[in-house]
């Protein structure tokens, strides 16, 4: 068995052995293994893709959510502002109304007081006038009792007319 001389026995067994090995592995091992690897690669790729898709979806959802949040916030702010405005308006109105009413009441009161006062004054005037007339009547009656005095009076009146 030289180093460079192939022996018949080894060639024989090698051919048979390698052929058997090849057929066993080609039938039962390699397809299963390579298909297994390919299937797993595909699954991983699919899952990655799906994950990317889900991520994208999540992002868009997030965006939408944020948008909705922002919108809701804006709406809330708007509502609050409106409510404040309305309440302020109501307050102002109420205040104005109250002021106006009180003013009116005061006015009424003033008028009433005025009327009462005027009435009282008129009454007093009338009373005074009546008194005056009574007094004047009495006086005139007394004065016109003698003629000298009547003349003097006429003269005096005339003087007054003159100065007017």
């Amino acid at each position: 068995m030289d180093l460079l001389r192939p022996s018949f026995g080894l060639i024989f067994w090698m051919l048979i052995g390698f052929a058997i090995l090849f057929f066993i592995l080609a039938k039962f091992a390699w397809p299963v293994i390579t298909n297994g690897i390919a299937a797993r690669n595909k699954k991983i790729a699919d899952q990655l893709e799906e994950a990317a898709k889900i991520h994208e979806e999540m992002e868009s959802l997030n965006k939408k959510h944020e948008e909705m949040m922002a919108q809701a916030k804006a709406e809330r702010d708007a509502l609050l502002a409106e409510a404040r405005k309305v309440s302020e308006e109501m307050y102002d109105k109420a205040k104005q109304k109250a002021t106006a009413e009180s003013q009116a009441m005061i006015e009424d009161a003033k008028k009433a007081i005025y009327f009462e006062k005027m009435k009282a004054i008129t009454d007093a005037k009338n009373a005074i006038a009546n008194f005056s007339i009574d007094i004047a009547q009495k006086l005139i009656n007394e004065e016109l009792s003698d003629s000298e005095k009547q003349e003097k009076l006429v003269e005096k009146w005339m003087e007054d007319v003159h100065f007017n």
Binding site: L10, W13, M14
Partner: protein, 378 residues
Amino acid sequence: MSYKGFERKLAVVLCTLMLVFPCKFTLAAAEETEKFDAGPFIIEHVIDSYGWHICGDGDKSVSIPLPIILFDEGHPVVFMSSKLHHGEAAYNGYAMGWGDNKGRIVKLDGNYADYTGHLEEGQEYEAHVCKWDISITKNVCALFISLILITCIFLSVAKRYKEHPNEVPSGLQALVEPVIVFLQDEVITPSLGRNSNKYAPYLLTLFFFIFLNNMLGIIPIFPGGANLTGNIAVTGILALITFFVTTFSSGKEYWKDIFNTPGVPWWLKIPLPIMPLVETIGIFTKPFVLMVRLFANITAGHIITLAFVSLIFIFGQMSPAIGWAVSPVSLFFYIFMGLMELLVAFIQAFVFTLLSAMYIGMAIGEEEHEEQAAVVEA
């Protein structure tokens, strides 16, 4: 005990052995009267044999006897190699060859045709070689062991894929999967393109067969140690299979390129068909080179490691002191070569597979033209 502690203790033990063992062996070598001859010692360890030698020398040697199977003139003959007593005895007229027939089984002629017993030294025997010898030799035995090993490994891996699809690889699966994926992505697909699936089983089988046997060849004790991929018959068969696969999968373009090589001046083809001749020779040199490369690389690695071991004995016979001094250096180089061989084991398996894939891809020759067509269309 932690792994680290164990590692350290193991290193200490191994280093001690490295210093003690050579001492013992150099002393033994010095005592031996017969002069140590490194050449035959190395060749004996590299070539095939009828028994599997385990340890010891001469009469004290321990080896596993293997069956010898012969077809002598149409009759099957089977007996154990131990009957021949390492070539010192004949059994039913069969003996180990000598001279030109050294290492082969011969049938004694004449008076000794059915002789069983000790062969006298110095006596002339007439003999002829038994041609049809399909003995289970050391290499055949190693071949069977490796076949069983590979089958078990890959069937168990395949089972794991079948039973646990789409799961994280574990155990053996995790060990072989990266290699398979590497071969598919770096060797098979680039060379064969869309024909990958058709040839992948052959190329994967080829790679793992060569790689595992290279690795087993590095292990110095049974069940490793047989120089199977360093045997020219084994590499020859592998190259031959690649040759047949290449030839039978060849397309029209392959032959056209050989007989009417494009891109060379006409006067290289007519009147003297130099290029066709060169190309035709190339068909055969490719597998031949495959055969020789694997054989030479693996055998050379073994020869060098054995040479470093032999150095201890050579120097030991000069003087035990020198032998003792040389042995650590020798062992260092031995270990270094062993590590080199680990690398070579992978590289050679890879190269053989890669070149096979490339030859087959070139023979099919579809991919290139499709690519060209694609370029033209673009």
